[in-house]
C-alpha cells in the first residue's frame, strides 16, 4: 500500500534475530498506524497480564502513513508497551527524526521482545537489521549516545539515558531533543538492556496521488500559518504561553495541586521565558508552527521547557526560578526522564516531608532546592532518588498520603489543575494511559485555553471529551502532531472572545453535549469530507489510496480508544481505577470552592461511549470491527 514501507519487523533480543511480522492491508485500513496500530499488535501479542519488565513485554515502535510525507508536523512516531508505572498499556509520542529515518530504512514499525545478554543497540539500514555492542556507551547521556550511535546526518536515533538503564519508572526515550516521555517506555528499553535504535536508509515515500496531496498540503500549511493559535500565539510563546491563562483560570497546578493559582506565576510564564531567556524558536521536522524554544543552559543552546515542565518544576514546587527550571529540563532530557512525573514526585515528596510522613529534606519554595542534583540521584536511584524513581503511587504505598499522590492508575497528572477544568478532570480519570491530558481528551482547550466554555460546569463535558479523545487518537494514528488540530477551532471565535455571538455559542455549547453524545453512541459521524476544515482524512487518502472520510477517520480513533480499554482490562484494569485522588474530588479549590464532580460525568461518559460500567459492550466491539 502507498504511504507505507509495508514492512514491520519482529525483533527478539534474546536470540538477536528478527523476522517480518505480517500486517494486512485490512489492519492498515482499520487502524492506520502509530499508537492505534500498535495497540492492535499489542492486543494480538499480549494475551495475558504481564509485568512491564518481563522480557516478553513487547515494545512496539510505530510510524504512521503520513510520517515522512512532508505533511505539516509529520515527523511524529509512537512507542507503545506495558507501562512500568501503570502496569497497563501505554503509548508515548515523539517528534524527533527517528520515525522518518525508520521509514526510509524500509520499516513502518518494530516489535521488540526478549532481553539481551549485555547492553546492545539495534542498527537498521535499508531493510537490514543488525545488533551492536552498546557496552562502551552504557551510562552515557542521551545527546552523547545519539552522537556515538548515529554519527551520520541522515540517520535518526532513539535512545535512553541513565534513567532508563536504571529502570526509573518514568524514563523516556529520546530522539534529537524530543522525548517519548510519559509512562516509562525508556525503563522498558533498559529492562531489555537496549540502549537504543539507529535507522538510516534511502527509501523514498510513495504517494497514491502526489498532486492531490501537494495541493491540499499547501492549503493546510497556509491555514496553520494564518490561524491565530498555530500561526501566531504558539510560534511566539510556545506552549509556555499557557501559564498566564492557566493561572487566571485556576488551572495552574500549584504546591502539589493544592491550588490552581501561583502568586509568582509571571516569573515562570511564557512571557518571561521569551523576554529574558529565549534565543530562537525551533520545531520538529516539517513543522510550520515551530513551538519549540531554544534557551541557554551552561553556555549551551538547548531545548527549552514546555508548559508542563514550567508548571511541574515551577509552581507545583513553589519554585519561581526560571533558570533552575531550564537547567532541570535540560538534565531531565539528558538523563532521559519525564519532567512531569519527576516534578510531581518531588512535589509529593515535599508534602510528605511537610506532613512529617517522610523526612527527606525537601521543602516547597526552598530557594536552595537543587533540582539537578535530585535528577542525577533519581537517575542513579541513589539516596532519596531511589524513592523518587518509583513515582507517586508507589511512594504513597510506602509513606502514605494516597489522597494527595496526584496520579491516576499510576501515571501522574499533567500541568492542568482539574478543579479549574471539570472536563479535564473527567479526562484524566478515564484515560487509558492514566492521568494524561492528551489521552484524556484535552478538554482544557475548551475550558479556557483556546475556547472559553464555562470551566466549572460539568454539563456536556462527557460528550465533548469523547469527541476530542477520538479525534486526537485518530490524528495520532495518522501521523501528525496534535497541535495541528488547534487550527480546526474556528479562528473567528478565538480572535473575538468578547463578541456577543461568540459568547452565546460558548454559553450554549454545553447544552449540545447531550446531542453530541447521543449522536456518537447511536449514529456516528457522517462519511463526508471537508478538507479545508479537517484535512487529515483526505491527506491520508491521497497518501495511501484508501478512501477516508471524516466519519471513517474518527472511527479509527474510537476503535483505538476502545481497543486500548480492552487491552487494559486484559492487563488487570478495574474500572474503579477511573477516578482521581481525593484532593481533587473532595478538597475545595482555593478561590473557586470547586471540586471535580466526577461521578455524574463518568456515568454519562460510559453511556455515550457504549461502555457498561467501564467495559466496552459486545455490540460496540462488533460495530467497530475489533
Amino acid at each position: 500500500m502507498k504511504g507505507y514501507a509495508n514492512r514491520i519487523a519482529r525483533i527478539d533480543l534474546s536470540s538477536l534475530t528478527y523476522e517480518d511480522y505480517p500486517v494486512s492491508d485490512q489492519y492498515r485500513e482499520l487502524y492506520l498506524g502509530g499508537k492505534t496500530l500498535a495497540a492492535r499488535i499489542l492486543y494480538d501479542i499480549v494475551t495475558e497480564k504481564i509485568d512491564a519488565f518481563d522480557p516478553r513485554n513487547p515494545i512496539v515502535v510505530m510510524t504512521s502513513p503520513l510520517t515522512g510525507s512532508m505533511a505539516p508536523c509529520s515527523s511524529r512516531f509512537d512507542v507503545s508497551t506495558v507501562s512500568p508505572l501503570t502496569g497497563l498499556c501505554t503509548s508515548s509520542n515523539c517528534g524527533g527524526n527517528f520515525g522518518m529515518a525508520l521509514k526510509r530504512a524500509g520499516f513502518d514499525g518494530l516489535i521488540i521482545v526478549g532481553k539481551a545478554e549485555k547492553p546492545i543497540y539495534i542498527k537498521i539500514n535499508d531493510g537490514v537489521i543488525e545488533f551492536a555492542d552498546a557496552s562502551p556507551f552504557w551510562g552515557t547521556l542521551t545527546s552523547e549516545a545519539q552522537k556515538q550511535m548515529s554519527p551520520k546526518k541522515t540517520s535518526g536515533a532513539f535512545v535512553i539515558g541513565p534513567a532508563g538503564e536504571n529502570l526509573v519508572r518514568y524514563a523516556g526515550v529520546v530522539s534529537q531533543e524530543r522525548t517519548a516521555g510519559r509512562n516509562g517506555v525508556g525503563a522498558v528499553f533498559g529492562s531489555k538492556l537496549l540502549k537504543g535504535i539507529v535507522a538510516d536508509g534511502t527509501g523514498k515515500y510513495e504517494f497514491a496521488d502526489q498532486e492531490g496531496f501537494k495541493a491540499l498540503n499547501k492549503i493546510w500549511v497556509e491555514n496553520l500559518r494564518k490561524h491565530p493559535l498555530t500561526g501566531k500565539q504558539l510560534p511566539t510563546y510556545g506552549t509556555a504561553g499557557l501559564v498566564s491563562t492557566m493561572n487566571f483560570k485556576h488551572q495552574l497546578a500549584t504546591k502539589n495541586y493544592k491550588s490552581g493559582q501561583y502568586e509568582d506565576f509571571e516569573k515562570i510564564s511564557g512571557e518571561t521565558l521569551r523576554e529574558k531567556y529565549l534565543i530562537k524558536n525551533k520545531g520538529c521536522l516539517t513543522c510550520p508552527i515551530q513551538c519549540g524554544r531554544v534557551v541557554t543552559v551552561e553556555e549551551k543552546e538547548v531545548k527549552g521547557p514546555e508548559v508542563e515542565t514550567l508548571v511541574l518544576l515551577g509552581s507545583n514546587l513553589l519554585n519561581n526560578d526560571m533558570q533552575k527550571i531550564l537547567d532541570a529540563n535540560y538534565y531531565c532530557d539528558e538523563y532521559g526522564m519525564d519532567t512531569i512525573t519527576f516534578g510531581s514526585s518531588v512535589g509529593f515528596a515535599m508534602e510528605l516531608n511537610e506532613k512529617g510522613l517522610w523526612n527527606n529534606g525537601l521543602r516547597f519554595g526552598d530557594p536552595d532546592l537543587d533540582l539537578v542534583a535530585l535528577i542525577k540521584a533519581t537517575a542513579a536511584r541513589e539516596g532519596i532518588g531511589a524513592e523518587l524513581a518509583e513515582g507517586t503511587r508507589r511512594m504513597s504505598e510506602k509513606f502514605g498520603g494516597k489522597e494527595y499522590a496526584i496520579n491516576v492508575k499510576g501515571l501522574e497528572l499533567a500541568a492542568y489543575e482539574p478543579r479549574g477544568a471539570q472536563g479535564m478532570g473527567l479526562g484524566y480519570a478515564v484515560a487509558n494511559r492514566g492521568g494524561c491530558h492528551l489521552n484524556g481528551g484535552y478538554m482544557v482547550v475548551m475550558e479556557g485555553l483556546g475556547f472559553n466554555v464555562d470551566n466549572l460546569t460539568t454539563k456536556g463535558k462527557a460528550a465533548f471529551s469523547i469527541f476530542f479523545q477520538d479525534l486526537m487518537e485518530a490524528i495520532s494514528a495518522g501521523g501528525t502532531c496534535l497541535f495541528t488540530s488547534y487550527a480546526v477551532l474556528p479562528a473567528f471565535m478565538i480572535a473575538n472572545p468578547n463578541k456577543f455571538i461568540v459568547r452565546l455559542i460558548y454559553k450554549m455549547l454545553p447544552y449540545f453535549g447531550g446531542i453530541v453524545g447521543l449522536a456518537h453512541r447511536f449514529i456516528g459521524i457522517a462519511d463526508i469530507n471537508a478538507p479545508k476544515l479537517l484535512p487529515y482524512p483526505k491527506m491520508i487518502s491521497y497518501a495511501t489510496g484508501m478512501k477516508y472520510t471524516i466519519g471513517k477517520f474518527i472511527r479509527v480513533g474510537e476503535r483505538g480508544y476502545t481497543l486500548e480499554r480492552l487491552l487494559n482490562l486484559r492487563l488487570g484494569l478495574n474500572p474503579d481505577q477511573d477516578t482521581l485522588p481525593k484532593r481533587l474530588t473532595e478538597e475545595k479549590q482555593p478561590g473557586t470552592g470547586s471540586v471535580v464532580r466526577l461521578n455524574r460525568m463518568k456515568k454519562a461518559f460510559y453511556f455515550y461511549r457504549g461502555w457498561k460500567d467501564g467495559v466496552p459492550t459486545g455490540s460496540l466491539i462488533r460495530r467497530l470491527r475489533i
Binding site: G241, T245, F248, G450, I494, N498
Partner: protein
C-alpha cells in the same frame, strides 16, 4: 490608580507590560486609554480576554464593568498548546 497588566500577544505588540491610569469609570474607558497610549487600536483591545481583579469580565458586566481606584485589569490573548 488603575493598573493594567498585559500578557501574551498584547504585551508583545504594545511593547509595554504594565500601564497605569488615573481612575476611570469602566473597562471600556480603560481600553480607550490603552488605544491612545499604544500602537494598537480600540478594535484590537476589544478582542482581549480581560479580568478585573482576577474575575473575567464575562462574569461581570463586560466592557461596562465599573472600576474603582486600585483595581487591576489583566489583559490576555487567547492561548493554546500543551
Amino acid at each position: 490608580m488603575i493598573t493594567v497588566r498585559l500578557y501574551g500577544l498584547f504585551r508583545l505588540e504594545s511593547e509595554k507590560p504594565v500601564y497605569q491610569f488615573e481612575p476611570v469609570q469602566d473597562v471600556a474607558a480603560v481600553l480607550s486609554l490603552l488605544a491612545k497610549e499604544s500602537r494598537l487600536g480600540l478594535k484590537d483591545w476589544k478582542k482581549a480576554v480581560i479580568y478585573v481583579n482576577g474575575t473575567a469580565i464575562d462574569k461581570l458586566s463586560m466592557f461596562r464593568t465599573q472600576l474603582k481606584d486600585g483595581d487591576v485589569l489583566s489583559v490576555l490573548s487567547p492561548a493554546s498548546g500543551g
